[in-house]
């Protein structure tokens, strides 16, 4: 346990010691601001509405629509590509692994550090509801229930997405390849999700089942769906196991 925390702390510091974290987090916040206030968008319900100012309602709907997309398409791939792929490429992993640490501790430490970055991003977005509906402005009375459930959903989705990113990171030695594998996987999942909302029948159901987006939607609406929590947790566990095996496989190759 102690080793996990030591590795996680080092990784987290490394993220903030390099410009990548700032560029990715800053860029994501800018993009989120644009999408939240200005861009016309499809609400979670599927109907086309305007930006935050146009719909004239005290809701964080827009944020919870875009946040998971931004997280899984940019932030998480950029963070997890450094976790293992970059370390394998530069050889630092060899030095880390030959310290008296277990492979599982390395994986969990890296996982925790990447989750830490997700937490930082989520904490930064807390500014939106707090600044607009608590202090210094009170733009209306916000229903905090969906905000809470939305964040919970983001957390679980983020955890699973970090798992997926870490898995790809463990399978390659190039951070660029790891980044695009992760981003590509989520892009395909989202694309399928949108497709599935127009297609019914077995195919639609199947896509709905694996789609992160479909699982997440109920959270944005204020529902805590335990099936989705279990789904995200299972994806996380499976991905961590694959990463662990993949790291271990260096010994046999």
């Amino acid at each position: 346990m102690r080793n996990i925390l030591i590795i996680a702390r080092r990784d987290l510091r490394a993220h903030f010691n390099s410009p990548v974290a700032y560029v990715v987090l800053g860029g994501t916040m800018l993009l989120l601001g644009y999408l939240f206030f200005i861009a016309p968008h499809m609400a979670v319900s599927g109907t086309s509405v305007g930006g935050f100012w146009e719909i004239d309602r005290a809701t964080m709907d827009q944020m919870f629509t875009y946040l998971p997309v931004l997280m899984s398409l940019f932030v998480i791939p950029a963070v997890t590509m450094r976790s293992l792929a970059a370390e394998k490429g530069s050889g630092t992993l060899e030095l880390l692994i030959t310290m008296p640490v277990k492979d599982s501790e390395v994986i969990l430490g890296k996982y925790l550090a990447a989750c830490g970055m997700v937490l930082v991003l989520l904490a930064a977005t807390l500014l939106y509801p707090i600044a607009m509906f608590k202090w210094p402005w009170q733009l209306g009375s916000l229903d905090w229930g969906p905000v809470f459930s939305g964040y919970l959903g983001c957390l679980f989705l983020g955890g699973a997405a970090v798992g997926v990113g870490l898995m790809f990171s463990s399978l390659t030695e190039s951070d660029v390849v790891a980044f695009f594998l992760t981003t590509g996987t989520f892009a395909i999942l989202y694309a399928l999700g949108w497709l599935a909302s127009t297609v019914h029948g077995t195919f639609g159901d199947a896509v709905d089942f694996i789609s992160f987006q479909a699982r997440y939607q109920s959270f944005a609406r204020g529902l805590i769906d335990t099936r989705a929590l279990i789904y995200f947790a299972s994806v996380t566990v499976v991905c961590l196991l694959v990463s662990f095996r993949s790291l271990e496989s260096r010994r046999w190759s």
């Binding site: 102690r2 080793n3 030591i6 590795i7 080092r10 510091r13 490394a14 010691n17 390099s18 530069s90 050889g91 630092t92 060899e94 030095l95 692994i97 030959t98 310290m99 008296p100 640490v101 277990k102 260096r250 010994r251 046999w252 190759s253």
Partner: protein, 373 residues
């Protein structure tokens, strides 16, 4: 296996796919020994070290480090090791002190011990000036020192260093070898390199590997003696130029000198080495343990020639290394197994060329040479 054996490898083999990187390597390193692990690039040095440090597992055979099996007790093995991989892969965005602290944390050193150890390794490795600097801003030499410092932070009984001097300039190299002697006094050190001069200055024993096999293992003197040949360089004045000739009689001809030297007892092989017109220079190879210098000198004196140069050339480690590992290149160039027959033919041709050039070689000598190869 006695208590003093710190590293023990038994029939260690490793294959990557169909490529056999290590083929049944056996060796042991005792407490307090500094052993040079030598071989050309791709001979299996790093692979062996990665197995010993538990980074990869052997395909067959086993190894023990400090009495622990590298496969069954990897954590115990890692605890007793300090390891510096090739090119010192460190986290570039950390400062030197941060890095050492990270290594100390993972080694579970308490703050007091860490302070004490850090002080000592910083001193030994000469890092006081750069402690606060980010590693990315350090030269390769300093990175190498940081790598060594992290390997020493927990005061391990065994150090495994993979080409620790490959990126250093000559000054840094000399300094590094000095550190190595200091820290190697009470430690077991396995040091890989392809630079033989380093081994000569810092190690008493060497293990030479070539294409995954150990070709020599023992004290440096023994390895040097392995080829069992001593070379003499003799040059006799051929032309005096404008100045009067100081010898007796007329200036000697090439054939005369060659015949006379060939008749000296104990000469095994005689080759003329190219020079300008002023001298006949010959390289004389003799059997070991027999100093030919008095005989050669006497011969020259009797003939009344002018001796310009006579010295004995101990076989250097470099020569031994080359003769032990030279086959690698040839094998590398061989594309298919079917080519091996042709290759052997070629070898024979080579030998015949050799024999022709050494005109004085007797049939027995020729047979002896064939035996060796």
């Amino acid at each position: 296996m006695s208590n003093d054996v710190m590293i023990y490898a038994n029939d260690l083999s490793k294959s990557f796919g169909s490529f056999r990187a290590l083929d049944k390597i056996n060796f042991e390193v005792k407490r307090g020994e500094i052993v040079g692990f030598l071989g050309p690039n791709g001979a299996g040095k790093s692979t062996t070290m990665r197995i010993l440090t538990t980074f990869i597992a052997p395909t067959a055979g086993f190894a023990r480090v400090n009495g622990h099996d590298v496969f069954d007790e990897p954590l115990k093995v890692r605890e007793s090791l300090g390891y510096l991989p090739q090119r010192a892969p460190l986290y570039l965005e950390m400062s030197v002190l941060e890095y050492l602290r990270f290594a100390g944390d993972l080694r579970h050193l308490d703050p007091d011990t860490f302070r004490k150890r850090a002080k000592s390794v910083v001193e030994v490795c000469g890092l006081a000036q750069v402690l606060g600097k980010e590693i990315r801003h350090l030269s390769h030499g300093y990175r190498q020192r940081v790598g060594l410092a992290q390997a020493l932070i927990h005061d391990p009984p065994i150090l495994i260093l993979d080409e620790p001097t490959s990126d250093l300039d000559p000054n840094e190299k000399a300094e590094f070898l000095d550190y190595l002697k200091q820290i190697g006094e009470e430690r077991t050190v396995l040091l890989s390199t392809h630079n033989l001069a380093e081994v000569e200055t810092s190690c008493a024993r060497a293990i030479i590997v070539s294409t995954g096999r150990i070709v020599a293992d023992g004290p440096l003197d023994e390895i040097r003696a392995k080829s069992g040949r001593v070379r003499y360089v003799v040059s006799i004045q051929e032309s005096a130029g404008d100045r009067p000739y100081r010898g007796r009689g007329s200036l000697p001809k090439r054939g005369e000198v060659e015949d006379a030297l060939g008749k000296v007892e104990g000469v095994k092989k005689l080759t003329e080495t190219p020079t300008d017109d002023s001298a006949h220079a010959f390289e004389v190879v003799s059997e070991k343990e027999q100093d030919l210098r008095p005989d050669i000198f006497q011969l020259v004196a009797d003939k009344g020639w002018v001796l310009l140069e006579l010295h004995r050339d101990q076989q250097t480690l470099e020569d031994v290394f080359r003769s032990l590992t030279i086959g690698d290149e040839r094998r590398n160039r061989q594309l298919t197994p079917a080519a091996s027959e042709d290759d052997e033919d070629e070898d024979e041709d080579d030998e015949e060329d050799d024999a022709d050039s050494a005109a004085s070689m007797s049939p027995e000598e020729r047979a002896a040479k064939a035996d060796r190869s």
